[in-house]
């Protein structure tokens, strides 16, 4: 299974619909300070079900909705679609309501509104947060797998106390 593309609309600084195609191998994301690179990383964690606003550098979940610029008004919601390909034997969608079979391509969608409420979809079928989380359960993706290392996080692994590090190992296990 591999990451095929991400579509971001209204999430943090991505006021306009933005599409990024990923290839197998290494994709580099570059640009000046503050242009939105880490926001892309945040959007991936968010659509996969990140529940902590603090982990996304915000004080509340609605803080990830584009809140305007000099020339633009804030948007009413944020939406991210993450598409995976070659999923047939890796992600099991057959158990979800309204989904008959395992798909070869799976798109996970999340929306959040100003009141902080989120909606989740798998291949356009509405579902719950736990469906998204269990979808990725045995794949090594997901918040405790360390497969997503946000800016500054690696320093915390070393400066963590021996006890905190234990938790890191338990999560990876």
């Amino acid at each position: 299974m591999y990451l095929k593309n991400i579509q971001i609309l209204g999430f943090k600084s991505f006021a306009d619909k933005t599409n990024v195609e990923f290839l197998p191998g290494i994709t580099a994301i570059v640009g000046p300070n503050g242009c939105g690179k880490s926001n892309v990383c945040d959007s991936i964690r968010w659509v996969l079900g990140e529940q902590s606003a603090k982990a996304l550098r915000s004080d509340e979940m609605a803080g990830v909705i584009f809140n305007g610029s000099d020339k633009r008004k804030p948007t009413a919601m944020a939406e991210v679609h993450l598409t995976f390909a070659d999923c047939k034997d890796v992600l099991h969608t057959g158990h979800l309501a309204g989904v008959d079979a395992n798909f070869d391509e799976v798109t996970v969608t999340r929306r959040v509104f100003r009141d902080g409420s989120s909606e989740y979809f798998i291949n356009k079928s509405a579902c719950r947060l736990k469906d998204v989380q269990s979808l990725f359960m045995d794949t090594g993706i997901g918040r405790s797998s360390y497969s997503i290392m946000e800016q500054g996080k690696i320093a915390r692994i070393l400066s963590a106390s021996a006890q905190e590090r234990r938790l890191i190992f338990e999560e990876a296990a």
């Binding site: 599409n19 690179k37 991936i44 797998s145 692994i157 234990r166 990876a172």
Partner: protein, 165 residues
């Protein structure tokens, strides 16, 4: 589950001893469960000795050495259960150029199992990418993505703006 933790811990430990040597070109590193504590609660201690140096507390290591040690641990964890994709945000920031080369050298070996998305300011890291996306804020406060694609590892980059769909 206590057995499961012990097994995973031992695997990560063996991997870490290996990845450290590869990233530092030598030296010794280890992970230890703190003595005298219930193994279900014991904290994890990191020992790291770069080549040619005497062992000391890891706090005395330099910023770059600490980062490289943490990267060795991260790859040691990845070896246990490779994820289909990994997103790494500015892991290379404290590393000098020769350490970045060691980091990217190890990263390439993981490509068999995982796809990588790497956020970076370093030209050296960018040089190993198969595809590059530039994020800009031409209009202040609004992010826009421009793709600068490489085909394979050829350096024939053609800058074409990503079509907004």
């Amino acid at each position: 589950s206590r057995q499961m933790f012990a097994d995973t811990f031992n695997t990560i430990r063996t991997n870490f001893q290996q990845t450290f040597i590869e990233l530092f070109g030598g030296g010794v590193a280890d992970l230890n469960l703190i003595e005298g504590e219930d193994p279900l609660e014991a904290g994890v201690e990191i020992m790291a000795r770069p080549p040619g140096k005497k062992p000391q507390t890891i706090t005395l290591l330099s910023g770059g050495e600490q980062t490289l040690t943490a990267v060795a641990l991260l790859f040691a964890i990845y070896m246990v259960k490779p994820s289909p994709f990994c997103v790494l945000d500015e892991l290379d920031a404290p590393l000098d150029e020769s350490n970045i080369d060691r980091f990217t050298g190890m990263l390439k070996r993981f490509l068999k199992h995982s796809q990588f998305v790497i956020i970076t300011h370093s030209k050296r890291t960018i040089s190993i990418a198969d595809a590059i996306y530039g994020v800009t804020m031409e209009e202040r406060g609004v992010s826009k993505v421009v793709s600068v694609k490489f085909t394979g590892l050829s350096k024939g980059a053609s800058k074409k703006p990503d079509k907004k769909s």
